[in-house]
Amino acid sequence: MKALTDAGIRPVAISVDKPEKTRVKMVQEAGYTFTFLSDPELEVIRRYDLVHAEELASGKDIARPAEFLIDPAGTIRWRMVTENFSVRARAENILEAAKGLP
């Protein structure tokens, strides 16, 4: 994550968790310093078509894992919508994708 911000990339994490929960779990316990946004009503998650309805472990509607790299004009330059929970984007993939940006 440090490598990303050093490259001028702002990581922004979005989940259904409420702000209080994220503050405790991600900021206080895990010590992350980047932006966390809460989408408990799945408003944005639905708009991005990333709803995982009645997910098995939680039984709730949550977001499936996905990453989007967006340039300052708002255009998506790279994305990863994984087909496998265990396979996630790696920092080096993102930095590679960001090299093409102005």
């Binding site: 001028g8 259904v16 991005y48 990453e67 300052p72 998506i76 994305r79 919508v81």
Partner: protein, 152 residues
């Protein structure tokens, strides 16, 4: 030493312990490393010798001179090892891929839909804001949106 090795069914024990380790090390240890998390090959590889040992142990447990208790114990140990392997295979090849289609997710080259959401301090934040607010006193080169499952 050799008398001891003859008395206990060491293949069965070794196979049992190895499959226990192979089955549990994935969720407990190896999933933290990207290479082994993505493919779980290290765990599946560990199961190969574990299964061989279990088969050898099982054959030994069912030799005619063995007592019933050794047959029961041998079968239980082998069944446990096989179910651990089945559990890992299920996790890696089925459960991890249980994801909905996201055909409508924005594609590369498209505009990212704008939004307003609240941050951890209950402050509203828009995508436009995130794309323009400086990082280390410089305008941001990009925003990386990370959708994650969360804790619920």
């Amino acid at each position: 030493m050799s008398g001891f090795m003859k008395r206990i069914n060491w293949q069965l024990w070794a196979g049992f312990v190895l499959s226990l380790f192979a089955g549990l090390s994935y969720p407990l240890l190896l999933s933290d490393w990207e290479l082994t998390r993505d493919y779980a090959w290290a765990n599946l590889a560990m199961f190969a010798p574990a299964m061989v040992l279990l088969i050898l142990g099982l054959r030994r447990a069912f030799k005619p001179d063995k007592r019933l208790v050794s047959k029961i114990f041998g079968s239980l140990a082998a069944a446990f090892g096989v179910s651990l392997l089945a559990g890992l295979l299920f996790l890696v090849f089925v459960a991890f891929r249980w994801l909905p289609e996201s055909a409508g997710a924005p594609q590369v080259g498209q505009k990212a839909p704008d939004f307003t959401l609240t941050d951890v301090n209950n402050k509203p934040v828009t995508l436009v804001q995130l794309l323009s607010e400086p990082i280390n006193n410089k305008p941001p080169g990009a925003v990386l949106l990370i959708f994650y499952r969360g804790y619920w």
